[in-house]
């Protein structure tokens, strides 16, 4: 079984190597095919591993294996480990399965791009990084995967490196993630200092020796890493900009890899977080604020991918709420369903963008329902799943999280519950606003000009783009049935053992109640969206310019986070630089002769340049004189 995990891990790396070395020999199309086949093989291996794991008795479903120890200093040992348990198995399924579909989709989407091979090499590398992260059996290896994910995302977001905005977005993502990496790294150092080990088993076994303060600080630092990687407040600003990458990249970042890493980290380290209840509360608060803010911002965005990006942020915030409430399985369940419907929405958006020849602004869309019925249908399924309408998958998972809030029945629980339901309302509004803007209403002049000929020529897209969407639509529609409150409990019983201290789990009654309220709230959101956006009317514009103008302004500027960072970091740095340049340099060094530093350096340079006359013999002579002098010194010293 562990061999299969190793194979799963190794395959994408093999793909990277093959594409990097033989990429030029492959036809452009072959690169995508190769990468996709490798992902399929990885998915197959992961599936078999999952089945083998499931066929074991429940108390043996946690396997660790060390390939080799690559760092050992005193008691400190870091091996290249795998830790294969229920959570890892599930993450492997998501990463390789959804990753595979995204790869297939990319074959069609990237067709004709001159850099296809580079693209697929990066994609495989991204998946490999994420796999390193999830199969790791110790924190250091996790950090390696963490860093590799950041690197791969940098490469992919900046994939179109001739676009300045893409390069900037890539740098932004990288820097934000670097902040998180530092937090995570310091957290790991701290854990090592406190506990003397970095392996999961060691940390979990000795976590109870920590005082609450120690545990809280360590968890806070881990949380910094999680916040950056998962794009949560206050390290979230990179996510919307990351839309500069090709659409499949967005799907991969948002659905299968990267942003889920933070949730995974918290769920994985839950025995440690158990001893830091205040940090868990903080996670819930951050989650609630994040989901409300991101949901609200999504309502006013006009870029199709940005809307989905903010919705990702909002949904990840739900997952944070879930893990923060110690309802780990609910958080991971939402991660699982979210992977499907979010990948579905991104690929749907990809189809739309593809059909409109690269256009991403929703104001240039509209009325595509008739032209793209299949995409429309899949988009509706994704939208319903995202909004959490019964019986689509998102509903069950989101309600499991909110039900946990109800079950906890404390201030934090109620905050989570009410905030989450409010978020569901917003989800309904922005999701269906997006659908109405893109698929309903009158066709915009641009779409009228571009879309019909393209679609007549190509259909809605090549089959390599459509089939992944269908499969994801199936998943988005039905995967919730794995966990019908009171009826099926595949997820909760599967993930139960990952937390030694038990998980918060709502009763069936609480969940059904939440499902009822959540669906009603979602439908209300849809109705509001329909009222405002289904037909052309000036109501949204009126609100925007009228009573709601302050809020609208704030939301359009994304709640001023970017401006805040500009004022906090960019301006002071620039000011300091110009101060040093203009005042310090010009005044403090005025007493030196012009180019004083340069003159002195040049003087010394000229005085030794005679030694470098180009005659090799004289260099050898210097060598010989040196040896003679050294020997003389030893002799004179006389030891």
């Amino acid at each position: 079984m562990t061999e299969l995990v190793w194979i799963t891990l190794a395959l994408p790396l093999v793909g990277v190597a093959l594409l990097a070395i033989f990429g030029n020999k492959l036809p452009a199309r072959g690169a995508g095919l190769l990468a996709s086949l490798i992902m399929l093989a990885a998915f197959g291996a992961a599936t078999v591993a999952l089945i083998l794991l499931a066929s074991k008795p429940e108390d043996q479903r946690q396997v660790t294996e060390t390939a080799w120890t690559w760092l050992s200093a005193g008691d400190f040992r870091v091996g290249f480990d795998i830790w294969f348990d229920q959570l890892t198995a599930l993450m492997l399924m998501v990463v390789t399965g959804v990753g595979f579909l995204i790869h297939v989709f990319s074959i069609g989407y990237m067709k004709g791009d001159s850099q296809e091979r580079r693209f697929f090499a990066y994609m495989n590398m991204f998946v490999f990084s994420m796999l390193v992260l999830v199969v790791s059996g110790n924190l250091v290896q996790l950090l390696i995967g963490w860093g590799l994910v950041g690197l791969s995302s940098y490469l992919l977001i900046g994939f179109w490196h001739h676009k300045t905005s893409a390069v900037k977005a890539a740098k932004k993502a990288f820097i934000m993630n670097a902040i998180g990496d530092v937090g995570l790294a310091v957290g790991i150092f701290l854990i090592f200092v406190d506990l003397g080990t970095v392996s999961y088993s060691g940390v979990f076994a000795s976590a109870n020796t920590l005082s609450e303060t120690q545990a809280s600080i360590a968890c806070l630092l881990l949380l910094v890493g999680a916040l950056a990687k998962s794009a949560q407040i206050p390290l979230h600003t990179w996510l919307p900009d990351a839309m500069e990458g090709p659409t499949p990249v967005s799907a991969l970042i948002h659905a299968a890899t990267m942003v889920t890493a933070g949730v995974y980290l918290i769920a994985r380290m839950n025995p440690l977080f158990f001893y830091a209840p205040k940090v868990l509360d903080l996670i819930v608060i951050i989650g609630v604020v994040g989901l409300l803010m991101a949901g609200a911002i999504a309502i006013v965005q006009t870029d199709i991918k940005r809307i989905i990006a903010f919705s990702t942020m909002s949904q990840i915030a739900y997952m944070f709420v879930g893990v923060g409430l110690s309802a780990y399985w609910a958080g991971i369940f939402h991660l699982f369903t979210h992977a499907f419907f979010k990948a579905l929405l991104f690929m749907g958006a990809g189809l739309v963008i593809h059909a409109l020849n690269g256009e991403q602004d929703t104001r240039n869309m509209g009325g595509l329902r008739k032209l793209m019925p299949k995409t429309y249908f899949c988009f509706i399924i994704g939208g319903l799943a995202l909004t959490g309408i019964f019986p689509f998958s998102g509903g069950f998972s989101k309600d499991a999280i909110l039900g946990a809030g109800l079950h906890v029945d404390s201030t934090i629980g109620w905050i989570a519950y009410v905030g989450g339901l409010l978020g569901a309302l917003m989800t309904g509004i922005y999701t269906f606003r997006l659908i109405f803007l893109v698929f309903h209403r009158r066709m915009s002049p641009y779409a009228e000009k571009v879309a019909p000929p393209l679609i007549k020529h190509h259909g809605e897209g090549p089959s390599s783009m459509l089939w992944p969407v269908y499969i994801l639509a199936l998943g988005a529609a039905f995967l919730g049935l794995l966990q019908i409150p009171g009826v099926t409990h595949v997820m909760s019983s599967w993930l139960e053992p990952i937390s030694p201290y038990g998980m918060v789990e709502a009763t069936a009654g609480q969940e059904w109640l939440t499902t009822l309220i959540g669906s009603v709230v979602g439908v209300i959101g849809i109705i509001i969206a329909a009222h405002l956006y289904l037909r052309e009317n000036d109501a949204p514009e009126r609100i925007r310019l009228g009573r709601g103008r302050l809020i609208a302004h704030a939301l359009e500027r994304r709640c001023y986070w970017d401006n805040l960072y500009e004022w906090m970091f960019e301006r002071p740095t620039q000011w300091a630089a110009s101060f040093l340049n203009r005042d310090v340099d010009a005044t403090a060094f005025r007493w030196l002769p012009t180019d004083g530093v340069g003159t002195i350096t040049a003087f010394f340079g000229r005085s030794v340049v005679v030694m470098q006359n180009g005659i090799v013999r004289s260099y050898a002579l210097v060598f010989a004189v040196g040896i003679a002098g050294f020997l003389l010194y030893l002799l004179v010293r006389g030891t």
Partner: protein, 101 residues
């Protein structure tokens, strides 16, 4: 044994010096390579002498390794000489002074 080890070492030192002078003074790359061989061989003699002194085979193994390395060095050096000849360059190290500052 009638000849002391220090005698061998002294001979080795003298040979080393002669080789060094050759490397430092001669301008022909061929002669420089030959002089280098003298230096390497004098060191080999030292290694063998010390090996005899302590009675182990380590020094002799070192001497063999030195021979191998010397052969490699000669190959590269002579390769350079041949390349210079084929490019009709003058075989004078003093003329090769693109390294000057």
């Amino acid at each position: 044994m009638s000849v002391g080890i220090p005698m061998f070492l002294a001979v080795s030192a003298i040979l080393f010096t002669i080789g060094l002078i050759g490397v430092l003074l001669r301008r022909s790359p061929l002669t420089i390579l030959l002089s280098l061989e003298i230096m390497l061989n004098s060191v080999n003699l030292t290694l063998v002498a010390f090996s005899r002194q302590v009675g182990g085979s380590d020094g002799q193994v070192f001497a063999l390794v030195v021979m191998g390395i010397a052969a490699a060095e000669v190959v590269v050096g002579l390769g350079l000489v041949v390349a210079m000849t084929r490019r009709s360059m003058v075989l004078d190290t003093d003329e090769l002074r693109t390294l000057n500052g």
